[in-house]
Amino acid sequence: MDKKVEPALSTGPAKLVGTSVPRTEDMALLTGTARYIDDLRFPGMLYAKILRSSHAHARIKVDTSEAYSMPGVHGVLAGRELVGKVKPWGDLMQDLLVGDHFPFAVDKVLFEGQEIAAVVADTKYQALDALEKVKVEYDDLPVMVDAEAALADDAPLIQEGINYEFGEGNIFDRYRVRIGDIDAAEAEADLVVRQRFSTNRQAGAALDPHGCIANFDSFTGVLTLYSSTQSIFMLRDSIADVLQLPRNKVRVVAPEVGAGFGSKVQMFPHEVIACILSMRLGRPVHLVLSRADIFRVGTARNSQIRHVEMFFKKTGQIIGYRDYVIQNSGALSFWGNQVVHIGTNVGLLPYPIPNLHIDGEIVHTNTAPGGALRGFGIPQIIFAKEQIVDMAAEALGLDPLDVRALNTVKRNQCPIRTPIGQVVDTTSVDECLQMVAAEIGWKEKRANPKPYEGVGMAISMKYTSCRHPSFDTDLSAIRLRLETDGTVTIFSSDVTHGQGHATFLGQIVSDVLGVGFEKIFLAPPDTANAPFGLGTYASRAAAVLGTACRTAAERLREKIVAIAAHVLEADPQDLETGNDRVYVRGMGDSGLYLENLATFSVYRTHQLPPGFEPTLEAVATYDTPTDREGPDGSGNFSVTYAGSAHAAHVRISPETGQIEILDYVMVHDTGTVINPLIVEGQHQGGFLMGIGMALGEDYVYDKMGHMVNATFAEYQAPQAADMPELNRMFEIPAPSTAIPGGQKGAGESGTGPVPAVMGNAIANAIGIRFTELPITPDRILLALREKERSGKADFRYPDDMPDYLGPRDAQSWPKPKGELELFF
């Protein structure tokens, strides 16, 4: 070895946390050797397919008799025979509060795509052939695509026979915030800006389809479910509950998961169906959904109509926020109501607004189920709030940058508890704001406007982890084992699906134990051997799982050092770990190899210190010090908050309405970054999801509730060729003090500001304020033409279009259906 390396060796190797270690995961992904759910094959495996409703709202009669006699068919299943045998489920797994989910529609379909019957056969084609023999009679009912229609007093009931907290009707949850005195704020305000905003439905659109293979062992009675899921334990407990099986007889394993974005963080009917079929037949059953099915049942972002009023002082100070939110969560929804609660609470940041009055109604419609999706309600409220900040600045003759700077929580105020209760431990969002303005050329570009060009910005904060209001937990766990050859195995139930768990957990373990990074292996997520954890969602991996990992590694290190101290007859305080060894400080080229210590712990137990419990394993669980939601809507749901400031420079084509992003700058506070490469990728991905929401994606329904764009050809998800260079990304770290390693969430902070940034930039470019998403070239061009025709200087789309039927001003806004006096 080169002598120059020696000094480094004796002082221990450089730490890996904070460096862009290339991702361990990438080789398998890039060479196509990673095995996703549809790549798995088991001996004797059968294939199941699901017949889905082609109507959005109808009473049904199902006759499956002819399907049984089709070639290759082993079984046919429909809803009627499962009534009383399978427990309905809904809401969150902890209590299964609402029984609105069932494997199949029984008497009535609530949305296009709902499960009606399933066939299992030797091949998937035989299964599809047999499904064509299932006869369904539809007796159509009125279809409600819009949340406002579903709220009408005379609207037909979508969910029949379900007892929601709020009685009959299509409202399945209400939300309210009462902080401060909103009436006083209104009286005190120099300026009130009122605007209705509406947002779109958006698909997770993970390329790896939703799907599973259920494999019931009729000898041991163990049901193993391989599923493309973000959360193996939530899925295991839900499956076990619905099928009333002992939880130790249900095992859930995640293969490689090709992304989820929140769309795979619940149990789906297809998973229950595959399990029932496998249990009946004693054979593995493969059930993978088509893209069209995933659009229709794989959950979509919840669309919101927000009636926002913001109260300002002349200086630009925000003194109040009032809002009535109507959220479309589709025909049934597992997480939809949580989106309003958490998204609204956290989305109010980074402004500690003293007076808040918010009502929300979460409504069923005959559309695709609403679920979790990257950003979880935050992009929706930011789209409204950050555009209102620009509107207010204009009305007050102020620079929107200055209004934001005045109101945002600042680094030197931290830690701070905001009026709604968020505890911001640290932040640099105020600095991110100034940097993004400097980098985009804010002052110069606004001072020298060019026709059809504009700049816009927005700031937001995203939670890192989340204590869900009806789900009182926020934990993750890690188990580590030092193997007898000096390698380390990490066991975790939080499924990696793009976040690079094998890499960043490896970096933490390598640093703490001094074990070579290449010797660390992350075991596939498997409920049979992993400690209980909630899963990978809510930007929680680096902070929550990372903290559990650091603690587990420290515990394991303590054990390793104890053995070494005993063998070396040294004081543990004098020992260090590094280079796969434990050594006396300053003597890094000597010491005991971890391999030997691990061998002692298992095969040479007489070498162990007296009383040492053999084997070298350590487990740690980390639950965040976060609050439950208070009756007034207050609470600190997240352990820390990641800040982001984004700005765009755009050009609009007056010929086609096309939006060209000339420059896009992102400045983030992700705290202490474990792996800059991974975080950069997360921000780029977060941006892409945000730009899809802003400029293209939506679930387009006809009046009969048919989704007409459920293909990747029609659905306007962004593609790489059309995206700007995403190389203008900066970090201003304000390491978290709540999280021992200083990490903050990275996965979603790139999404929140994007729709608002685009709205503000487009308004700056062409003087048209878009209050509806997505902002597509057709809408832009038609708005431009109408603005020219009307001669209006301040033009809003769609509010000022001649064919717009919604309320144009606050006087005609709807009021919340009922004043909620419910305390929970």
């Binding site: 084609y125 599809l128 052939d129 069209a292 010929e655 086609t656 309405g657 096309q658 293209g696 050809a713 306007q716 962004p718 593609q719 060729a721 059309d722 597509t776 070239p777 057709d778 809408r779 061009l781 038609l782 033409r785």
Partner: protein, 289 residues
């Protein structure tokens, strides 16, 4: 996908023979970029699929003695895009190289696109604009249709069930002085929302002798703006307010009273912009390079 019998005839005679006997549900496949998708979704359920991908003589571009181009229907877009052609013929490889995505261009064929006649496809509009003609071969013999007779105004083509498209002929360079094609789509890989093809023959004095403007995407087949084009005969394009002409093109192919939905209203605005670009290019003689 439902079961079907698959044929791979080695010659054109074999292909038309198999097609003649295969019955009404037979489908021809070349690059498969339309049919395979339809099969996968069970939207097409042919009893026979006849591949003409291996039939000799159906691929490639040849120039005849008269200077016209004969394009084999099995020529892929990718292959077409690489062919260097002089004058306005260069618009054909330019369009072929800028549609769909690379994998579709590598497999998809010009003949497949023309026979599928998707309203959002580029080639039907372009070829109609150029006044290309289409040779159809069957066991009964051969017939040649011009574009207006080939595309069915209510969608699809007039290819008979026993016929195979065996050649696309593009007129020789002197047929037109200039050709221009413009389209718009949201994403690079999308099919077009509207397409406009224009072709002009100038008289020796520089005035319009013949003008043809074809718009795709707004109806079930490419629409020829005959009235607007004819009205410019004898005029000098440089002396006309072209955006005004473009508006007349739009009004002719998509009358305002028919533009009801947001999509249609947008198309009518878009056609104005695209037609203006086409007319400007025709008047200034800018070719695709």
């Amino acid at each position: 996908m439902t079961p079907f019998s698959f044929h791979r005839p080695a010659t054109l005679d074999d292909a038309v023979g198999v097609l003649a006997t295969a019955g009404p549900d037979a489908k021809i496949i070349a690059g498969g970029q339309s049919l395979l998708l339809a099969l996968k979704e069970r939207n097409a359920r042919p009893n026979s699929v006849i591949s003409i991908a291996d039939v000799p003589g159906l691929s490639g571009v040849t120039e005849t003695e008269a200077g016209s181009l004969e394009i084999g229907p099995c020529t892929t877009y990718a292959k077409l895009a690489k062919i260097a052609l002089p004058g306005w013929h260069a618009e054909i490889p330019a369009v072929a190289g800028n549609l769909a995505d690379r994998s579709v261009r590598s497999m998809g064929t010009i003949g497949g696109g023309v026979c599928e006649a998707g309203v959002r496809f580029d080639m039907p509009t372009l070829l109609s604009g150029l006044e290309a003609s289409f040779k159809l071969t069957s066991a009964r013999g051969v017939r040649v249709l011009n574009a207006d007779a080939f595309f069915n105004a209510s969608g699809g083509t007039y290819i008979a069930r026993d016929e195979i498209l065996t050649d696309i002929t593009v007129p020789a360079l002197p047929h037109w002085s200039n050709v221009a094609f413009e389209k718009f789509r949201f994403r690079t890989f999308d099919a077009a929302i509207a397409t406009v093809a224009g072709a002009v023959l100038f008289a020796p004095d520089g005035t319009v002798e013949r003008l043809r403007i074809v718009v795709g995407g707004v109806a079930k087949a490419p629409v020829v703006a005959i009235g607007t084009a004819n009205s410019l005969k004898g005029r000098s394009l440089g002396a006309i307010f072209l955006p005004g002409v473009a508006m007349r093109v739009s009004n002719e192919v998509l009358p305002p009273e028919n533009a009801v939905t947001r999509g249609q209203k947008y198309q009518s605005e878009l056609v104005i912009s695209l037609a203006a670009r086409v007319l400007t290019r025709l008047s200034t003689g800018v070719h695709a390079s």
